[in-house]
């Protein structure tokens, strides 16, 4: 049922809700804690995210992504909205920290684990500045202006690094269904 939870939910099957929370609760909670850094705020966000999941379950397309990624995508949208309202200041960290290899894979969900490994590998192939900016923007949720201020680099450069990095990761993950060389077309 691992990949059919959202289909059941979309069809109005309430019994799939518990399975959904069991499967993705830890994932969503971890994402919320990482981006919001305040557990009260994170709890509110997680409730909102699951409501979004119920509402959007019918849009899940298994040919494009796994359920895990789909849930993470919904969570990310909601968390970014909330985080920007928090007026949070970036914890930039050192480039070395961001470049450091993960010491341990703490993903317990096998599906998440496989995807995380593939994505980590794709991230490793990026240039350091692309990786740093994608980390700050996607993982930590900071705006281009915040990153530009914090790293003291022009806004346009921040955007360029983010675009190139994102497209490169997409290609590495085989998500470029067009067959075009998007990176060349874009940057």
């Amino acid at each position: 049922m691992a990949q059919a939870i959202l289909k059941h939910i979309a069809s109005g099957d309430k019994t799939a809700v518990q399975k959904c929370i069991d499967t993705y609760g830890g994932l969503v909670w971890s994402l919320a804690l990482r981006m919001l850094s305040n557990s009260d705020e994170a709890e509110d966000a997680v409730q909102e995210i699951f409501i979004d999941v119920w509402k959007n379950a019918g849009r899940f397309d298994e040919t494009q992504a796994s359920e895990t990624t789909f849930v993470a995508m919904i969570a990310r949208r909601r968390l970014i909205d909330r985080m920007r309202k928090q007026n949070r200041q970036p914890d930039i960290g050192s480039l070395e920290d961001i470049l450091a290899e993960p010491t341990e894979n703490k993903n317990r969900n096998p599906q998440t684990s496989v995807e995380a490994k593939e994505t980590a590998q794709a991230m490793k192939n990026l240039r350091p500045e692309q990786r740093q900016i994608l980390h700050l923007s996607i993982v930590q949720g900071f705006s281009h202006q915040e990153i530009s201020d914090a790293l003291n680099i022009p806004l346009g450069t921040v955007k360029t690094h983010a675009r190139r990095g994102l497209l490169k990761v997409r290609e590495s993950l085989g998500l470029d269904s067009s067959g075009d060389n998007i990176e060349e077309a874009t940057v």
């Binding site: 929370i21 909670w29 994402l31 993470a72 007026n87 995380a116 996607i138 994102l166 998500l175």
Partner: protein
């Protein structure tokens, strides 16, 4: 030409995924999408971003039990609202069908009678209060203690058999007896409570997306319209100055902390102190002979470093300016709840304040 437009399409799609778009960019993207109807097949950028977000995620954290219960309640409400055939009245008793079947033993959506009685009394009090406010709205009201959020919860105003409540009046801060307020306020970390946090449910009901979701536990209750009326003018007889409020806080808060400002290296000497009560989440900055800034150009901004935050992210305590030479007292307006304050800092920023400051903008710090 087509390639240039296609490049721009990808740029905007990437920017939208990573940072979001301005209004102008969103319009531009919408136009480009019409020119490339198959743009979606090139996209998948949001999925890529989601996967990047998962790449080093530690998912070993367990969802808190109370939070899980609240999500189940939300789900019940959601599915009821979309016309599920589930018999809501069996929600608590039918352990084989409801969402909360095996959730956890603590989850118990039904309220005992005495709680309903209490809620009915609270509802009557709120309605009487609303009428009173209406009748006396032009008269000054005494300043009262902060009203707990739970007063806003529709459930509280609903009676068990609840006749259709015509209107719920949300009263942000008016008079409320302290004991009633405390008893209604369910602490977030109250693990043993059998009642799902009404506060959370209320927030979800209040959300426009869920405005029509009926209460899972009160199926007979029609979700009433929530009408927010402005806070009755807090008209304490006479309004205390910030300096007086600071003195009051110093005298009344047993956990008060006080520390002096220390000028940053190479900056003008800053004289004054900061006081803070963590229990009351209130504090004041006192400064003497601080240079006045041109408000169109610059502002001072206060920061609070909270040791309990996961990241070392100072919390903004608000922006301020000082009008003239002499002593200035400024209330601290923390953007987040401060759990374990470690130090305070004042920076000089561009007008309007910033979300990111830099070390060279700090003019003073106060460490605990």
């Amino acid at each position: 030409m087509k390639d240039v437009k296609k490049e721009r399409l990808f740029e905007l799609l990437a920017d939208q995924t990573v940072f979001g778009l301005s209004e102008e960019e969103a319009v531009e993207l919408a136009q480009l999408k019409t020119q490339f109807p198959d743009w979606e097949k090139y996209n998948l950028l949001e999925i890529t971003a989601a996967m990047i977000g998962l790449s080093d995620l530690d998912t070993s954290k367990e969802l808190p039990v109370n939070l899980r219960s609240r999500i189940l309640v939300d789900a019940e409400k959601y599915f009821d609202s979309i016309g599920e055939t589930q018999n809501k009245s069996n929600f608590a008793s039918d352990k084989n069908v409801g969402l909360a079947t095996t959730a956890n033993a603590e989850f118990e959506p039904r309220r005992p009678f005495w709680q309903w009685l209490g809620l009915a009394v609270a509802a009557a009090a709120c309605i009487a209060l609303a009428i009173n406010l209406w009748l006396t709205r032009s008269q000054p009201q005494p300043e009262v203690a902060e009203t707990p959020k739970t007063v806003q919860t529709p459930e509280i105003l609903a009676t068990p058999e609840s006749q259709e409540t015509p209107e719920i009046v949300v009263i942000p801060e008016p008079a409320k007896t302290p004991e009633t307020g405390e008893s209604n306020k369910t602490p977030r970390n109250q693990e043993t409570t059998k009642i799902p946090e009404t506060n959370r449910n209320q927030e979800i009901v209040r959300s426009p997306k869920n405005a029509n979701i009926p209460e899972a536990k009160t199926p007979e209750v029609k979700t009433p319209e929530i009408v927010r009326i402005p806070t009755p003018a807090k008209t304490p007889s006479p309004e205390l100055s910030a300096a007086q409020k600071r003195e009051q806080l110093l005298a009344s808060a047993p956990d008060i902390i006080q520390t002096n400002w220390v000028s940053a290296k190479d900056k003008k000497v800053v004289l004054g102190d900061v006081v803070w009560s963590n229990a009351q989440q209130k504090g004041y900055v006192r400064l003497r002979d601080m240079p006045t800034l041109d408000p169109n150009q610059e502002t001072y901004q206060l920061w609070i470093v909270d040791e309990a935050q996961n990241k070392k992210t100072p919390v903004s305590g608000g922006i301020f300016n000082v009008g003239q030479a002499g002593e200035a007292v400024i209330p601290i307006n923390a953007q987040l709840k401060i759990l374990k304050p470690k130090s305070f800092a004042i920076s000089k920023e561009k007008a309007g304040g910033v979300v990111v400051t830099k070390p060279n903008r700090i003019v003073a710090t106060a460490k605990l």
